[in-house]
Subunit: 315 residues, 2 copies
C-alpha cells in the first residue's frame, strides 16, 4: 500500500465515476465557526460514494470471474453501486438485501439490473445467503467495506477533496462498516498536509467507538438508528487502518442527526441521507475543537425514502 | 433596451450573487428524451433567482433613496432577496408578506435583517400595506416582477446558462408574476442562437396562459396551487415582453407538479421548490415536442417548508 496504489485506483475508476462537486455554505460556516467543504458524493452515480469501491473491485476481476458475476450483501447503497458498476461492465450482479431496506434502494437495484435476494435483517443471515448464492452461481463475493480493493476505491473521494482543498486540517466521515473512513484515512495520510480524520457515529450503533477504546472488534447489540447505512460493524481489514490513521470518533444522538440533516437540506438545498448527516452532527456537537479550521466532510450519499421523512411541522 | 443593458446589469450585480452551477442527470435525460440543463438558482444566495433582480434594483438607487430604505411585498423569495440584498448594501428593508407565507420564508427574512409587515393574502391588501409603509418611511417601492430593473436582473440567470450552453434550443421558466420569464426571454433574444422560451404554469393559476390567448391582462379568480411563488399575476411592464418573445405556456396539474418535484429530488438529490417543479412538469407533459433538443430549465428556487411536504409513503 503506497501513494501510488491510490493514484492507480483513481485512474482506473475515473471513466466510470463522477468527480463530484465540493460545495460550501456561508450560513453553515457561521454556525460552525469553521470553513466547511462538503464533498458531495450524494451526486455520485447511483447516489453514493460506494460506486467508487464497487467499480474498483469489479475492474480487478479476471475475465473468467467476470463471466460468473459478483454477489454482495448490503443495506442499500453498495447494492445499487455494485448493480450499476456491474451493468456498466457487462457483469451479472446478485444482491442480498435485508427485507427492511428502504423501498427506494430496492428500486434502484432493480433499475440498474441487479438481481435481489431478500433475507432477514441480521448480519448473519446476509452472509449466509450471500455464501449460498456464491456457491450456486460461482459469483465472486464483494464485501461492502472489508476488502482492500473496496476500501482503496472509497478513499478516492477524499483524494479528490484534498486535490481541491489541499490545506484541510480535518476530514469527517461517517462510520458504518468502516470502508469509507479507512479509505479516507489512507488518502489523508498520503495526500493531506497533516490532515486529521474524524468519524461520526450514532450512539445507537457505536461499535467503532467502542472498538477503538477496547482495541478489539466490538459488536452492536441493537442498531436502532435512522442512519440505516451505519448499522453494520467494522471488519478485520479496515480496523487496523482505522486504529492507525483515525484521530477519533464522535458519537451523536438521533435528534442531532435529524437536526443536522434538516439544516443541510434547508441551508444548502441538497439532499443528504441520515448516514451523511451524522458527520455534520458530529462537527456541530464538538465544534469548539474545530474553530477556525478548514474542515472537509465526505457527504456519503443522498438516497432517502421521501415517503418516510423524519421532519415535523415547523412553527 | 439592448444587449449592453443586460451585460451592464450582470457586471453590476456579479459581486453580490453566485454564478450558480448547471447540473444534468442521465436518468432524467432518458426519461424526457432530450438533453436537459438545470440552471440551479436554488443554490443562489437567499435560495432563489430573485436575488439578481433585487440587487440590480437596489444598486441603481440614489444615495438619498438608499438612506430611506426599500419596501416590497412578496410571498417569500423576493422578500428574502430584498432583505439580503439590502443588508449587503447597508439599506433598510421593509417587507410586506401575506400571513399564510411559509414559516421558513419568514424566518429567512428575519435572519437577513428585513422588517416584516403581515397582511391578508390578497394582491390588494399587499399593495395597500406596501403603499402605506412607503408613505410612512419614504422607502422606495420595489416590485417583485413588474419593474424593468428587476426583470433585467432576473434575466442574468438565463444569460449565464447560455454562456455555458450556447446552443440551447429551448429555455423553460416558471411563470408567476412574469419577471423571470420576461428577463429570460430578453436574454434568449440577445444571447441565444434562435433559442425559444417556454413557460410552465399551474392550471390553478393560469392567468399568463389566458392573457396570451386574449391579448389583455387576465386575473385569477382562485390560486389553489402548491406552487406558492406562482400565485401572482403578470404586470403591464413584463406582459408586452412576454407577448413578443415567449413561444408558449404549458399548463400542468398539481399532481404533475408534485411528481416532477419528487423526480428531481430523488434523481438529482437537489431540493427544488414546487414553483420550480412546474417547469419540469411542463417539459414532461409535452416532451414529444422537445425530443432530441438541448433544453435549459431555470430552477428558480429551493425554499421549501420541510415540515409540510406533499410526498406520500412509497408502497
Amino acid at each position: 500500500m503506497t501513494q501510488q496504489t491510490l493514484l492507480d485506483c483513481h485512474r482506473r475508476i475515473k471513466p466510470y465515476i463522477h468527480d463530484t462537486p465540493v460545495l460550501s455554505s456561508r450560513l453553515i460556516n457561521k454556525e460552525v465557526g469553521a470553513e466547511v467543504f462538503f464533498k458531495c458524493e450524494n451526486f455520485q452515480r447511483a447516489g453514493a460514494y460506494k460506486m467508487r469501491g464497487a467499480t474498483n473491485a469489479i475492474l480487478q476481476l479476471t475475465d473468467e470471474q467476470c463471466g460468473k458475476g459478483v454477489v454482495t450483501h448490503s443495506s442499500g447503497n453498495f447494492a445499487q453501486a455494485v448493480s450499476l458498476g456491474a451493468q456498466s461492465l457487462g457483469v451479472a450482479a446478485h444482491i442480498v438485501m435485508p427485507n427492511i431496506a428502504p423501498q427506494v434502494k430496492k428500486i434502484g437495484v432493480l433499475e440498474y439490473g441487479g438481481l435481489i435476494y431478500e433475507c432477514e435483517p441480521t448480519l448473519e443471515a446476509r452472509q449466509t445467503m450471500a455464501d449460498q448464492v456464491s456457491q450456486d452461481t460461482g459469483a465472486t463475493f464483494l464485501h461492502p467495506s472489508n476488502q482492500l480493493n473496496v476500501i482503496i476505491g472509497q478513499g478516492t473521494a477524499a483524494m479528490e477533496l484534498l486535490a481541491e482543498q489541499p490545506d484541510l486540517n480535518t476530514i469527517f466521515c461517517p462510520v458504518g462498516g468502516g470502508g469509507l473512513i479507512a479509505g479516507s484515512a489512507l488518502a489523508a495520510h498520503y495526500f493531506g498536509n497533516e490532515c486529521k480524520v474524524f468519524g461520526g457515529e450514532p450512539f445507537e450503533a457505536d461499535d467503532a467507538y467502542r472498538s477503538l477504546q477496547s482495541g478489539i472488534l466490538e459488536g452492536n447489540e441493537t442498531t436502532d438508528t435512522i442512519a440505516d447505512g451505519l448499522r453494520t460493524t467494522l471488519g478485520d481489514v479496515n480496523f487496523p487502518i482505522i486504529q492507525q490513521h483515525v484521530s477519533g470518533i464522535i458519537r451523536v444522538t438521533e435528534a442531532e442527526i435529524i437536526a443536522a440533516m434538516r439544516m443541510v437540506w434547508e441551508r444548502m438545498k441538497i439532499i443528504i441521507e441520515p448516514s451523511s448527516a451524522v458527520t455534520v452532527a458530529a462537527l456541530l456537537r464538538d465544534r469548539k475543537h474545530f474553530q477556525g479550521q478548514k474542515v472537509g466532510i465526505v457527504i456519503s450519499g443522498g438516497n432517502v425514502d421521501l415517503g418516510n421523512l423524519p421532519f415535523h411541522a415547523s412553527i
